[in-house]
Amino acid sequence: MIKVEKLKKSFGSNEVLKDINVTVKPQEVVVVIGPSGSGKSTFLRCLNMLESITGGHVYIEGIDLTDKKTDINKVRIEVGMVFQQFNLFPHKTVIENIMLAPMKVRNVPAEKAKAKGLELLRKVGLEDKAEAYPDSLSGGQKQRVAIARALAMEPKIMLFDEPTSALDPEMVGEVLEVMKQLAKEGMTMVVVTHEMGFAKEVGDRVIFMDGGVVVEENVPKELFENPKEDRTKSFLSKVL
Amino acid sequence: GTSKTTGGSSDDKTLKVVTDAAYAPFEYLDKGKVVGFDVDFMNAVAKEAGLKIKIENVGWDPLFVELDKKTADIGMSAITINDERKQSYDFTRPYFLSTNKILVPKDSDIKSGADLKNNKTIAVQNATTGQEAVEGLLGKNNEKIKKFENNNLAIQEMKSGGADAVVADNTVIEQYVLNNPKDNFVVIEDSTAFAQEFYGLMLPKGSKLKADLDKAINTLMENGEYAKIYKKWFKVDPDLSKLPKE
């Protein structure tokens, strides 16, 4: 599904990702953890080319993103992304936020896009907010809309970059709930998060990154209970 | 409409006469309409020569531009005939004698052009013969000469205390003194310091209008029409003997 080979990424002279090798199988939920600045976001953003790749290869469903002939917009349709800051379009209502990309990119007719949008809103528990503007929503509601918006493109893979860390604590639960549901339905997911509870409960595999490399990866129980590397141990001692 | 070509004085064509209407009493705006001695004179000349004219206020510098580009037919703006200008333009015969005179407050110690050199500040209108005359006395771009956009601002400057004298065409300042007796300004004449100047209607180089216009001007001078207009504006009779024929 996703195959990352010798991925390198530099900003100027600052090498942020150094030789990353990761494979994600269909329906797998991979959780990425690590200290701030370790390159987690950059890694995720390389998976749908929001960052240009400096070296190595990223294959999404067998297509090489680093190949110049690849139509990046086609690939992005297959890969949905949810950001820490929601990034809803503030000048459009909730349902318009969801309908925009299917209509403009996939040429779905408005009625069909709307029906699909309402269905997704029901799924995230917000069917009554279809006509509201993003500003009138709470953080948790915004993030659920953002998830619905990404799902509207019917992606095969979903990327989440700290989807709950901009939320008030009592709203974290409702967002994680939607993500758990998605995992249960078999979505392939790569999730950067500090929510260790979610990692343990939902993750098939946890990757610990530090300083631009994958330090350790394992099933959650093993990684949390028997970390092998010192860096992993010291990080986990701080956050658990 | 305005004519795009000059020369042809075909009867049905309206000629474009351009002026800078900021030079009372020759041409100025009276509630938006261009009036003045030049205007009455020009209309009389046109009538005499059988021409249709339309007077447009375009400002001083554009006036030259328009005649250069031949987009106007006649420049009428109390324009002094001098050799420099004659190189680029044609003029009709002189129709007015002017001398630069000095406007000063009544109690001023300036009595002649020579007194202007005694560390006096003089206000003039930029690009006029008044400016040239003063620069002739004090030297070009002398610090004591203040150049304004128009004579109004120059006179205002003296009235507000920023200049000791204004040098401009006699008619302009005589008219001012007549209309503003309360200001207690007087006019000083100094024919040794300032040369006489003659105004002419300015035409594009090679204009075919010159002959017709000259003839009409001569007629007006002979039949007394010119004197009538002169008297109306300047309250005195003209001394035609001082006007050369060419």
Binding site: N48, L50, N73, K74, R76, I77, V79, G80, M81, F83, Q85, N87, L88, F89, P90, H91, L100, A101, K104, V105, R106, A146, R149, A150, M153 | K4, D20, A22, A24, Y28, L29, D30, K31, G32, N57, V58, G59, D61, P62, V65, E66, K69, T71, A72, E149, N150, N152, L153, I155, Q156, K159, S160, N180, D183
Partner: protein, 218 residues
């Protein structure tokens, strides 16, 4: 101080005419300036630095020199090149528009750049291409943010149109000067002109505040 109400009454119709021309000049210039400004702003935003250069030079020149020089040059030198004759109103509109365009280009660029990067990233990650993202996501938000500074530029234009009096365009200030020239009074014409300008700019500011408030609640 004695105020000569009689000459004020006499000049009232001219002030009115002048005010109308002032408003006309300002409106024409803001319209033309905005259209030009959009193009120049987009030009400056081009990735290719070489293509963007002429637009940067344009903005630098018009922002780095006094409007007074610009208006004199355009009136006496540029307009005659094209029309074959000077035309004060044309020169005023051309100068004010070209000058405003330089400022509006910057407003436009700032408006686009003020939109959070996340908006573009969200749109791109949904599969939209650059043009689609600009058109449906970035521009609608940027335009809304541009309204206050555009309104401000309009206020500036009203004031700067007074420079058209230098080339004898018969706008408000021109009649102020004419009145001063005819009666050699200073306070009446200039204070009157100042008050009219103040009324114009304050009314516009008031309208803009209301417009902004309406847009904000939308």
């Amino acid at each position: 101080m004695d105020i000569r109400w009689d000459i004020l009454a006499e000049y009232a119709p001219f002030f009115l005419k002048g005010t109308l021309l002032t408003i006309g000049l300002s409106i024409a210039s803001i319209l033309i300036g905005t259209i030009l400004g959009l193009f120049i702003g987009l030009g400056k935003l081009m990735r290719n630095k070489l293509l963007a250069l002429p637009f940067s030079v344009y903005v630098t020149c018009f922002r780095g020199t006094p409007l007074l020089v610009q208006i004199l040059l355009i009136h006496f030198a540029v307009v005659p090149l094209f029309l074959g004759e000077t035309n004060a109103i044309a020169a005023a509109i051309v100068t004010l528009s070209l000058n405003a365009a330089a400022y509006i280009a910057e407003i436009f660029r700032a408006g686009i750049q003020s939109i959070d990067r996340g908006q573009m990233e969200a749109a791109r990650s949904l599969g939209m291409n650059h043009v689609q993202a600009m058109r449906h996501v970035i521009l609608p938000q940027a335009v809304k943010r541009m309204i206050p500074p555009l309104g401000n530029e309009f206020v500036v234009l009203i004031k700067e149109s007074s420079l058209a009096s230098i080339v004898a365009a018969p706008e408000l200030m021109y009649w102020g000067k004419a009145m001063q020239g005819q009666y050699f009074r200073v306070w009446e014409p200039y204070v009157t002109a100042a008050i009219i300008y103040l009324v114009l700019t304050l009314s516009l500011s008031f309208l803009l505040t209301r417009l902004e408030r309406r847009l904000a609640t939308e």
